[in-house]
Symmetry: C2
Amino acid sequence: MPELRQNFITRDWVIIATERAKRPDQFGHNSKPEIDVPDFEATCPFCPGNEAMAAHERFSYRENGIWQLRVVPNKFPALAETGESLRKIKGIFTSMNGIGIHDVVIEHQRHNATLTDISQEELLRIFKAYVERYKQIKEDPRIESILIFRNHGKSAGTSLIHPHSQIVALPVVPHQIRDRMDTAMRYFDTHGECIFCKTMQEELASGARILLETPHFVSFIPYAALSPFHIWIFPKRHESSFDNISQEELVDLGINLQTVLKKLKKGLQNPDYNITIRPIPTHDRNSEYYHWYLAIVPRLTVAAGFELGSGMYISPAIPEESAKYLREITV
Amino acid sequence: MPELRQNFITRDWVIIATERAKRPDQFGHNSKPEIDVPDFEATCPFCPGNEAMAAHERFSYRENGIWQLRVVPNKFPALAETGESLRKIKGIFTSMNGIGIHDVVIEHQRHNATLTDISQEELLRIFKAYVERYKQIKEDPRIESILIFRNHGKSAGTSLIHPHSQIVALPVVPHQIRDRMDTAMRYFDTHGECIFCKTMQEELASGARILLETPHFVSFIPYAALSPFHIWIFPKRHESSFDNISQEELVDLGINLQTVLKKLKKGLQNPDYNITIRPIPTHDRNSEYYHWYLAIVPRLTVAAGFELGSGMYISPAIPEESAKYLREITV
């Protein structure tokens, strides 16, 4: 008998399609073998020596004068940096100036570096850049929300191989985020606790879907994961703003994330995936009911008409089986 | 300057990325050339003669004893037909029996038939089957919502080429649908009119995004289309339940839909797409504030980290340009 599950935080239902379920090790079969990527590519705009091909540098981390990580504006930005945050409402047509910020974090000198083969210090550098840039951007009063994300592999939307992440700062709060805040707020008002903290406690108490618990973070496959091997990493300390993370927590996040990514790579043959960091909107800092977190979404299935028509998902993976499989993979 | 737009009905924001915008005719460049598909395939479970390979027949339309269209249960259903609609709530973990219905509508005898090359009579037969099956299914009190959808092409999730659609009947209402009903209800309570009717009136008054107006339907690219060439087809008569469509309206819907699909095929080189029909939940019939509609979503871009992390979209297409381009294509 298939099972429907509802995510407690997002209210989304998922069909766990037991009749179509695959064994956990079968999900890697569509992954392409890792291609041999050189450590330098002369035509790559992010490779050392080609700095002039990218837009001007916002800042960089350097060793002996050589950059190790650079933050630059996206050369083809989705949003323009200058201009007023101005809504125009004409009847049903609401628009606003497409102002905002669209950055690229060039994570490493090496063209073929990946999040699973770099050192913990190098990974920490990436997260430090996120925090530094986040703090700078949120001082801009026009900005309402900041999204940090990373696309790994072609089916996850990557066009450039050189390791990079992106930061998009928006002059609006996405409807989906407001909707989830609304649920979290109502839960807090009734129960007097954070719905994310509560979920983490219950997931830890069950243990069935936990991947890794480190001193400051818990990674798990949600009870109602919308797609196979969808992973959430929650900070244990209640905190709504990502940039209030401590240095010690940043180090721990890197360890937790890299371990999970190594397990995914080994267990599912280097799948494509997206990573997103989901904080509270910038003007709603220090909320007692919202909790920032990081999500990893491996791209193992294709959303089709059912998903587009309902916002619901059919998943051929059983979260407890997927979690057990990843827990047992040694890296 | 890029522009942000908010969809009046869904509340979703989209970034119309003018800096990355493509000309309308450039979106077809990723489409694969149409492969030469035979009109019969001996191994196809939906081809005539192979009826035993599919599950038992629910019903069929026949001419001279030969089936022209068949409705069968999906052989690998996402949901089980027998069982109770029973929720289990243990703390934060809400689940229910995965009961429901998962049908396949085998649309045509011919293996290589497409929605753009069949006759209007054949298209009408497909829609008649949707309505007939919809009416049957909604008599089941366990069912809360019924989704009808069609996947065209591999990137849209098709695994079998033989022309078919799917019907999934759920024992729950998807969160996304309830969220939209909530918006529509509040709009009705304030303004005394249906938000869908209002949108259609304003789109017709503007004309800039209209693709085709027929006696009973209006097809248009929404003002805040989330992805390039996303199309909505609204019935002009206010109606929340799809199955209350008249015979005359069904014929007209077929004409409107097929014309639009032919334009898409010619203008964008046979793109992959999904079609979904979005009615009100079955137990909320005859609503004055909700309005059923049909959506066509061509798969021209890939949702990446930004979209997964925010529920917002970045679209490189300008809706007015896309609509003008399709309007001018003769079919």
